[in-house]
């Protein structure tokens, strides 16, 4: 079976990797790069635990081949924090206790991050629609939705503060 040499930017850093044809993006992240924040759930595109951003858009990394990200930029949950500081979205999750076992959380954060990028002020309905592909089996969705709402409000506040200076 063929292997492929790919160049991919992961969380801002450029990598040159040798990947076999049948390696998924999820396997590449977890097994080749030790980025284990991205979880392996259903391996069928149902649960969303493996959600990452490819060129800024969320995808199920279990349903994409590593060779397909050649020349593209991937962001995992490890890439959301900067300089040791959690993103406002991550802080809102901590504030609302929107985490129980935490298995779904990386995927939820990625989907919610992508939502706020394309729609900084989502309604509750829009938040629910954006998270349809991220299943949580323990803490429930209410706190997750509240956390996303809080993060959206904070970004509005910080924007208005910037606007007033």
């Amino acid at each position: 079976m063929a292997t492929h040499t790919i160049t991919v930017t992961v969380n801002g850093s450029q990598e040159h990797l040798m990947v076999p044809s049948n390696m998924t993006l999820l396997q590449m992240l977890r097994e080749k790069m030790a980025l284990t924040g991205t979880k392996n759930g259903c391996e069928a595109g149902e649960c969303g635990a493996c959600t990452v951003l490819v060129d800024g858009e969320p995808v199920n990394s279990c349903m994409m081949l590593a060779v397909e990200v050649d020349g593209r930029a991937v962001t995992t949950v490890e890439g959301l924090a900067h300089g040791g500081r959690l993103s406002p979205l991550q802080e809102a999750f901590a504030e609302h206790n929107a985490v129980q076992c935490g298995f779904c959380t990386p995927g939820v954060l990625i989907s919610a991050h992508a939502l706020l990028e394309r729609n900084p002020h989502p309604t509750e309905e829009e938040i629910r629609a954006a998270l349809v592909g991220n299943l949580c089996r323990c803490t429930g969705y209410l706190r997750i939705i509240q956390a996303v709402q809080t993060a959206a409000e904070h970004s509005t506040l910080s924007l208005s503060r910037e606007g007033s200076t």
Binding site: M1, A2, H4, P20, S21, N22, M23, T24, Q27, E43, A44, G45, G48, T51, E57, P58, V59, N60, C62, M63, M64, L65, V67, E68, S111, A114, A129, A130, V132, G133, N134
Partner: protein, 318 residues
């Protein structure tokens, strides 16, 4: 939970044009599979249902991805355009909102970033969410193949694109109505590549609605899916023409022709809609499966049709 095995071994080939894909399909036959979004392909490979030796990636080819609207020719959607690209495209939203609604009903946002319109149709699933819309919008499937075909409804045209393979490579079009032959079976012949779906200019003042019933509100496959499309037509006795497309209630997605006839011949209103919903139920031949029983599907296809007709009728602004 049982862990699934990883993907079996295969060679991945990213082709540089359509003819390279045709050559690989010819060389490897059944052992080659085309990759667009992979959302069905990889699931079937993990489940051991198929085991291709070669996976041929065609989704990056410009002809496979573009969405273009022309005031004469209508809409052409590349087979590998993703559901999100289709649902968000201004020309789709502006002229074919029913197609946008259907594309948006598929699975989840992140899956719609990968799942493609062409893949949804060419899998031949009875539950394909975009099939009812493609049926009632009069869609035509563009198939690119190696030579003159012997199949019916063939309009193979000289290919204008770059050619590196056979001199006879070209396109043919198959109406969506007639494309689905059975569960998992379509009119695509061995060695052919689906490149696009074309939609004619919609009739003036047309209104559409896709009603999908799943086990939960979003993210699931359809228990039943009903697309209703209506527009004024002075040639019809009722003054209106309605089209009804169905998914998940028969071996193939299909039109409810008898119901459409009722709606063309009788004045729109509750009585006509009830009769049309009954005729729609009679067009369905559902099965029991993990998602619902046949009896429940029959009841739901009637109710969804009624709701769709009422909604479209209200929005026709009469």
């Amino acid at each position: 939970m049982l862990s699934r095995p990883g993907l079996p071994s295969f060679d991945y080939v990213r082709v540089s044009d359509r003819n390279e894909a045709l050559l690989l399909l010819k060389e490897h036959g059944e052992a080659a599979r085309l990759l667009m979004g992979g959302t069905d392909l990889f699931v079937r490979m993990r489940d051991g249902l198929i085991c291709p030796r070669t996976v041929v990636d065609v989704k990056h080819l410009p002809v496979m991805r573009s969405i273009a609207y022309d005031e004469q020719a209508g809409l052409t959607v590349g087979a590998a355009a993703t559901m999100n690209q289709v649902a968000c495209h201004p020309d789709v939203q502006g002229h074919y909102p029913l197609l946008a609604e259907a594309a948006e009903s598929v699975a989840s946002y992140q899956l719609r970033n990968r799942a493609t319109l062409g893949g949804n149709l060419c899998n031949g699933s009875p539950a394909a969410d975009t099939a009812p819309a493609a049926l009632v919008l009069g869609g035509r499937i563009v198939l690119y193949g190696p030579g003159p075909s012997t199949g019916p409804s063939v309009v193979r045209r000289e290919d204008q694109g770059q050619r590196t393979g056979s001199e006879q490579s070209g396109e043919r079009e198959v109406p969506v109505d007639g494309f689905f032959l059975g569960p998992g079976q379509t009119a695509i012949e061995a060695g052919e590549l689906m490149t696009a779906i074309r939609f004619p200019i919609p009739p003036a003042d047309a209104v559409g609605r896709y009603l999908k019933l799943g086990r939960n509100k979003a993210g699931d496959l359809a228990i039943a899916g009903v697309a209703v499309y209506g527009f004024p037509d002075s040639a019809a006795a009722s003054g209106y023409r309605f089209r009804i497309g169905l998914a998940s209630v028969a071996p193939v997605p299909l039109r409810a022709w008898d119901a459409e006839k009722v709606l063309a011949e009788n004045a729109p209103g509750e009585e006509t809609f009830a009769l049309a919903a009954q005729k729609t139920l009679e067009a369905a031949s559902p099965i029991d499966d993990v998602r619902a029983s046949a009896a429940y599907r029959e009841a739901m296809v009637r109710n969804l049709t009624l709701r769709g007709l009422r909604d479209v009728w209200a929005r026709l602004g009469v």
